[in-house]
Symmetry: C3
Subunit: 219 residues, 3 copies
């Protein structure tokens, strides 16, 4: 279990660091900006989760391994980005960002559910899911607010909803099957919903007409 | 007392959900965006309050009723908004937003003061007021930051000050009269100050001249 | 020690209040906006620090002296700013803002390290530094996010890094020399690194070319 969890957390840390670093590169931040935004994206959700659960200092502050992995990832991304930016592979950029963000969302959602379980909140499915969603979307929200772009949770279809579905699935499965498959299934569900949503461009009703959308400029 | 408090909290939840949902609609967010921004606006202040007071997990995470009410409100607003947007009643929009925001501010301010009281901080009027203000303005600040608009606490005259006056009044009255009238008086004071401020367009000195204001564009 | 610490905290509070108030004045906020942004900048880092360390309610809420000093500073800045704005001393503005921000960064970084020490985390140099950096940069990040400008931690060269170096120096020195000189040295290091960085305009690699930088407009 410990190994499985560690692998999950490293996957999530790598994925969100890449997502934060790529966002910073798009905003043309310098080396330090890229590393800092990668780090905040990777550890932000876990810090919010621990604060909400009353776990102080948060795990991120006690064990440096996640921060070190995150900094190394952002450095690697920065160095390749310098080269890649010369070639302008916009599609590869968008696809990588989407994949990393979905992966981090899935992994951190179930890690959040597990942490709430261990904090003795296993009976309250509402709390489990809420904490899972906050852990999953927290890092990305901080990334977007600090990078001054519209938060993904508002503009990407079924983003928070994918996290919520994965958290609910994980929390329910936990009662009938062991933790490892429950967490794996929850993560997979999040990534699957995100991929389906992107592939079929699931569209939700907007309050205004299409013409107004263009004027307002937020899509 | 419990019934009174529950009614107050539901009023505040409804008011702030409407305020968050209307802001999201103005920003042309889709269905999920509207629900999420309504929810964050409604529960954000209470979560900040509980974190500051060391109450973990925050009340919002333990009892789903406030989140459910908030989601239903935002859904209702979204459905009517779709229709209303066709008619473009800008004045009605502005007035409703103002009223809901002032109501939520008044209610959550005194709920915050009460929570600090119960947490054993009744002797420290400074802390009581500070916690009241954070509970009152917290949801709106999160709403504005996430919706990428200038926070109300900076641009609406006497917004945080109205909350502070209500918190002080509630904290002082609590020592001489029962809790229910003290909280009612505090809430009313907040709403009254907000209404007077809006009606008379109370204007405060700005550092720059009027011409510069137009150039800078933030009013 | 207590006197030294109190003096440090007042210096940091004054410096960050001035920095927040000046930012608000640049954004043409009114009197209340200036006071509120000054206050948030001054007490924000300390509140984040205490939440992370599980110290609730945070010190800022228990002792009003820092808030009172902050409000008085912002009022003073506002009144002089009104007059100064007429004369447009842009260089003086930039220099004062830089100095105050660096001073606040240095002081709050070591105050954060000390608070983590007292919370029993003295053995974990990683945690000490992390908490020091959050205390140092937290107020400024909140100021920038609320004022809707790109956070200093991304756009000012070696801003967070200066704080990190000061925190590490303070945490390491603490083991060999008394607390007062360790804190003084850490603060001085932060201010020195900031000044050197500004004077020599230390430039870090950016992912895009110079032409693209101009287009994107974030430097």
């Amino acid at each position: 279990m410990e190994t499985f969890l560690f692998v999950l957390e490293i996957i999530g840390t790598v994925a969100f660091s890449v997502s934060g670093a790529m966002t910073a590169i798009k905003k043309n931040m310098d080396l330090f900006g890229v590393v800092i935004l990668g780090l905040i994206t990777a550890v932000g959700g876990g810090i919010l989760r621990d604060l909400v659960l009353g776990i102080t200092p948060p795990a991120t502050f006690r064990d440096p391994v996640y921060s070190i992995v995150s900094v190394l990832c952002s450095l690697a991304i920065f160095l390749t980005a310098v080269r890649r930016a010369l070639n302008h592979h916009h599609r590869l950029y968008d696809f990588t960002l989407f994949l990393m963000d979905s992966l981090g969302l899935g992994v951190f959602t179930v890690v959040g559910v597990r942490t709430a379980f261990l904090a003795g909140q296993g009976d309250n499915l509402f709390l489990l899911s809420f904490v899972g969603v906050i852990t999953g979307v927290g890092g990305g929200v901080l990334r977007d607010v600090l990078a001054q772009q519209p938060p993904y949770i508002f503009v990407k279809h079924v983003y928070a909803v994918a996290s919520l579905l994965g958290a609910l699935a994980c929390g329910l499965l936990w009662r009938v099957i062991p933790a490892v498959p429950a967490m794996a299934a929850g993560s997979l569900l999040v990534v699957t919903v995100r991929c389906l949503s992107a592939h079929y461009r699931w569209s939700l009703p907007h309050p205004h007409s299409a013409e107004e959308t263009e004027k307002n400029g937020l899509t």
